[in-house]
């Protein structure tokens, strides 16, 4: 195994580990709002690790490295947005948080008809 291959395997291993963590979290965690934590954070870092692995494997080819950088910034910008949209849609459709969500300061703040938030 050459050095490039070693670095690639290492980065991809880290990435795959975090993707697996997020999918285990998706199954084990008790309610939607905590599952979104797992999917939004661990999924993002995991996919970034895999893409960094691809970039380091083709380190001599400038267009591929640039494409990977663009992909990584794309994931940084869009993964949180997708997370917010799902969370907001869930709260508006009345998905209940788990038992023991102690301060729930969003409860009763929505005007469901006009979809405005105080």
């Amino acid at each position: 195994m050459s050095l490039v291959e070693l670095i690639t395997a290492l980065l991809m291993g880290i990435g795959v580990f975090f993707v697996i963590v997020s999918s285990i979290g998706l199954v084990r965690l008790p309610d939607l709002y905590t599952r979104v934590h797992a999917a939004g954070k661990a999924g993002t870092l995991g996919i970034i690790g895999v893409l960094l692995g691809v970039g380091s494997y083709y380190i001599t080819s400038v267009p591929i490295v640039i494409k990977m950088m663009a992909m990584i910034s794309f994931f940084f910008l869009t993964a949180p947005v997708a997370t917010h949209m799902i969370d907001r849609a869930a709260f508006l459709t009345g998905v209940k948080p788990m038992e023991g969500t102690s301060p729930n300061e969003l409860q009763g703040r929505y005007d469901y008809r006009t979809r405005r938030l105080q």
């Binding site: 195994m1 291959e5 690639t8 395997a9 991809m12 291993g13 990435g15 795959v16 993707v19 697996i20 997020s22 999918s23 285990i24 998706l26 199954v27 939607l32 599952r35 979104v36 999917a39 999924g43 995991g46 996919i47 895999v50 893409l51 692995g53 691809v54 494997y57 083709y58 080819s61 591929i64 494409k67 990977m68 992909m71 794309f74 994931f75 869009t78 947005v81 997708a82 949209m85 799902i86 969370d87 907001r88 849609a89 869930a90 508006l92 459709t93 009345g94 998905v95 979809r115």
Partner: protein
């Protein structure tokens, strides 16, 4: 088969296993937003698998497929969230 290719194959197998775990949430999920989260994760798995395929079989042309799938995954999640919001009650 070199050690590197063996490692890549093992990682791809692990990722496929994790994809199966995510499918369980897609099938079971008590509410539609749960399924939306599972869909988002499935798209992430798909991007990862194609990216590892690129390295394993030295097919850099497939990097464009990685870009397309990731954009489609984001747009699909956003569209699904808008649909859930508008379709309530």
């Amino acid at each position: 088969m070199s050690l590197f290719q063996l490692t890549m194959t093992a990682l791809m197998a692990l990722l496929s296993l994790s994809l199966g775990v995510t499918f369980w949430r897609l099938l079971r999920g008590p509410s539609i937003p749960d399924r939306a989260v599972a869909f988002d994760m499935i798209m992430i798995h798909l991007v990862g698998l194609i990216a590892m395929f690129v390295v394993q079989f030295r097919q850099p042309i497939l990097i464009d497929a990685v870009i397309v799938v990731s954009v489609l995954g984001f747009l699909g999640t956003v569209a699904l969230a808008r649909y859930i919001e508008d379709g309530r009650n």
